[in-house]
């Protein structure tokens, strides 16, 4: 009820009467706990009992740094769970260079309104180095699709919903935080406050105190730097937004294209994704970042017939993490989304995992603090990490293996495209992508698939050897 009272600069001394009035303290044993086995439930009970109750009945205060899908989802779940939440976002209408594809399950899990989805992709075209094209998506049911969203729209929606749930949303640039001096002290967050109303440029430095920090500030995370989270390997993604003639746009209405080959990227793929009224043409690489312009030109060349006459309206580049940071939690500071490094290999997907990790982190904080009445500690945050790793590690690992096997050479890529022509592969791929669950396959089909794939690989490798002997 008293969210408005959260005056940004003077959060240190907060009135606490209202907070106390709506304190809904539950005995820790009957707190609702989403999923998780018996072991984690036991841990929850112990941690909450050991952490001290907050003085004066005030509520737990958490800063969420970054207002993307991770930050938005975290702030909403925190606010709903009775935690005083402040979200800092430096640019409210930031349109991040991003493919913008979300799986079907995200729409229902996060209650996204359908008009957020600009395009429904039902046909994926995979194109091999020798231009063999395979349409993936024949197995999709009529209601199934890959949603394409604009990040500025999705981010704003999630942020607004967090605000409605009671989180305070600040426009500002996070600068750094100071760790508490004493054991259960507060963290000081320093940020540059932007206020468009007084027309001042540059913003003013402000700070406030919180009990915990959730770093959702993306690949160049400052929170991660402050907590000494260590670095990760990253890919650079380059993308051009191209406005193409209407008749060409029709082709991309519900279709996305993926190009593979040494020419477009030595370790990733080149893409043409449909956006609301234009297409995004791009590519990415980890190993040959200096050559990214060359790869982009190659991607453009391979899609030439379909995007000819297009006008480039925007050029973007962005780092994409390859694996989680060595450290994802330190004291009462933790990372979610891209800042933590939750992007899959092979497909390069991150929006869903960002939002999901944000929410899971928030739920762990809410549970550990008994709805904001107790202080949390590192073990509470670690519970979110354990749960996230348990749920999604298999997905990440499978995609890592796929990338290693099939993106390693042109021969392997040819085999990959051949494999994707198979209906069984398509069904399995889409099931795991759209619903983020690992479905046990049919053992007979699995064996058939394995044999076929090895066959494809052997044939492609044999051809590759012949190619080595040739001079044109």
């Amino acid at each position: 009820a008293s969210r408005g009272a959260l005056a940004a600069a003077t959060m240190t001394s907060l009135s606490s009467s209202a907070a106390a009035a709506r304190a809904t303290f539950l005995p820790s044993s009957c707190r609702a706990r989403p999923a998780g086995g018996r072991r984690s439930q036991l841990l929850v009970t112990r941690a909450a009992a050991s952490s001290p109750k907050l003085p004066g009945g005030r509520k737990l205060r958490v800063a969420v740094v970054g207002g993307g899908p991770a930050g938005g989802a975290a702030a909403e779940a925190l606010a709903k769970g009775g935690v005083e939440t402040v979200l800092i976002e430096r640019k409210m209408d930031n349109c991040k260079p991003c493919g913008g594809a979300i799986p079907l399950c995200m729409v229902s899990e996060f209650d996204l309104p359908l008009d957020l989805v600009d395009r429904r992709v039902t046909k994926m075209k995979m194109i091999s180095p020798s231009n063999v094209a395979v349409d993936i998506g024949r197995t999709l049911a009529p209601h199934e699709y890959i949603g394409m969203v604009r990040r500025e729209v999705l981010d704003d929606f999630l942020r607004t919903r967090a605000q409605k749930a009671g989180a305070e949303v600040l426009n500002g640039l996070f600068l750094r935080y100071e760790a508490p001096k004493e054991r259960n002290g507060t963290y000081t967050v320093h940020y540059n406050h932007y206020d468009s109303s007084n027309g001042k440029v540059g913003g003013e430095k402000r700070s406030f105190e919180v009990d915990a920090i959730v770093g959702a500030d993306g690949a160049n995370s400052r929170v991660a730097k402050d907590m000494g989270a260590g670095d990760y390997e990253y890919a650079i993604a380059f993308q051009e937004r191209v406005k193409i003639p209407d008749d060409k746009m029709r082709y991309y209405e519900e279709r996305a294209e993926m190009y593979v080959g040494d020419d477009v990227s030595p370790d990733f793929y080149g893409w043409v994704f449909p956006k609301c009224d234009h297409v995004a043409v791009g590519t990415g690489t980890v190993t040959h970042k200096a050559d990214i312009k060359k790869f982009q030109a190659a991607t453009r060349l391979r899609a030439k017939d379909k995007i000819e006459g297009g006008k480039i309206i925007r050029v973007e580049a962005h780092p994409i993490p390859e694996h989680p940071r060595p450290k994802r939690v330190s004291g009462r500071v933790t990372l979610v989304g891209d800042a933590a490094g939750y992007v899959t290999k092979c497909s390069g997907e991150g929006i869903y995992f960002a939002a999901k990790s944000g929410r899971m982190c928030a739920e762990a904080i809410v549970a550990g603090s008994a709805n904001g009445t107790r202080l949390v500690d590192e073990s509470d945050l670690r519970k979110y990490l354990a749960e996230f790793d348990r749920l999604y590690w298999p997905t990440y690992k499978v995609l890592d293996i796929l990338q290693k096997v099939f993106y390693r050479s042109n021969a392997a890529r040819e085999a990959f495209v051949e494999m994707c022509a198979d209906d069984y592969v398509q069904r399995m791929t889409f099931d795991s992508y759209l619903y983020k669950r690992v479905v046990p396959g049919n053992p007979i089909e699995d064996i058939k698939l394995a044999v076929n794939t090895i066959g494809s690989l052997v044939r492609a490798t044999a051809l590759r050897r012949e190619m080595g002997k040739l001079t044109l």
């Binding site: 180095p129 094209a133 073990s379 690992k397 290693k404 492609a460 044109l472």
Partner: protein, 165 residues
């Protein structure tokens, strides 16, 4: 690379190899020639990539070449060497097992340990064909565990300092 000419071959028709133009004297398809032609096309495209097109789609699929054509072309020249190697390694392993334990060749066949050795010998002959293969296999193992390590590092310093403050 933009101005390079498109791949052309009189036998490449409507996005696939026209098999009727690969007939040898007997009228049967000369699959060796198809393999050669496809290798040539792929090499060409690697050097000068072409725009993909939905009107002029590539429909050729390597699986239409029968399996025996591949075996004949790629496996048989190699097979002689591998068979010879497997036989020699097998013979000497059986010899040493016999001389060390006194178990004869026939008895060895019924022994689990000896069956395992046999399996290792065959797998080894297939996997390690050249000396470089050992390095490649080692690299593969490192690579396949690298990602696991990257994920596990969060938990590494955790165990000794579990409830530290």
């Amino acid at each position: 690379a933009v101005a390079s000419p498109k791949f052309q071959d009189s036998r490449w028709v409507n996005g696939t190899w026209d098999l009727s133009r690969f007939g040898n004297t007997g009228g049967a398809v000369d699959w060796d020639a198809v393999i050669d032609a496809e290798a040539r096309r792929r090499k060409w495209l690697e050097d000068s990539p072409e725009a993909s097109s939905s009107e002029d789609a590539v429909v050729f699929d390597t699986s239409i070449i029968p399996w025996w054509a591949w075996i004949k072309r790629f496996h048989l020249p190699e097979a002689e060497k591998l068979n010879g190697r497997a036989a020699m390694v097998g013979f000497f392993m059986a010899y040493f097992v016999d001389s060390l334990t006194g178990v004869g060749l026939v008895d060895q066949m019924g022994n689990f340990f000896c069956k395992t050795l046999l399996f290792v010998a065959v797998a080894g002959v297939l996997l390690v064909r050249k000396n470089e293969d050992i390095d490649n296999l080692k690299k593969l193992i490192d690579e396949s565990t690298f990602y696991d390590k990257q994920w596990q590092s969060t938990w590494q310093d955790d165990s000794p300092s579990g409830p530290k403050k």
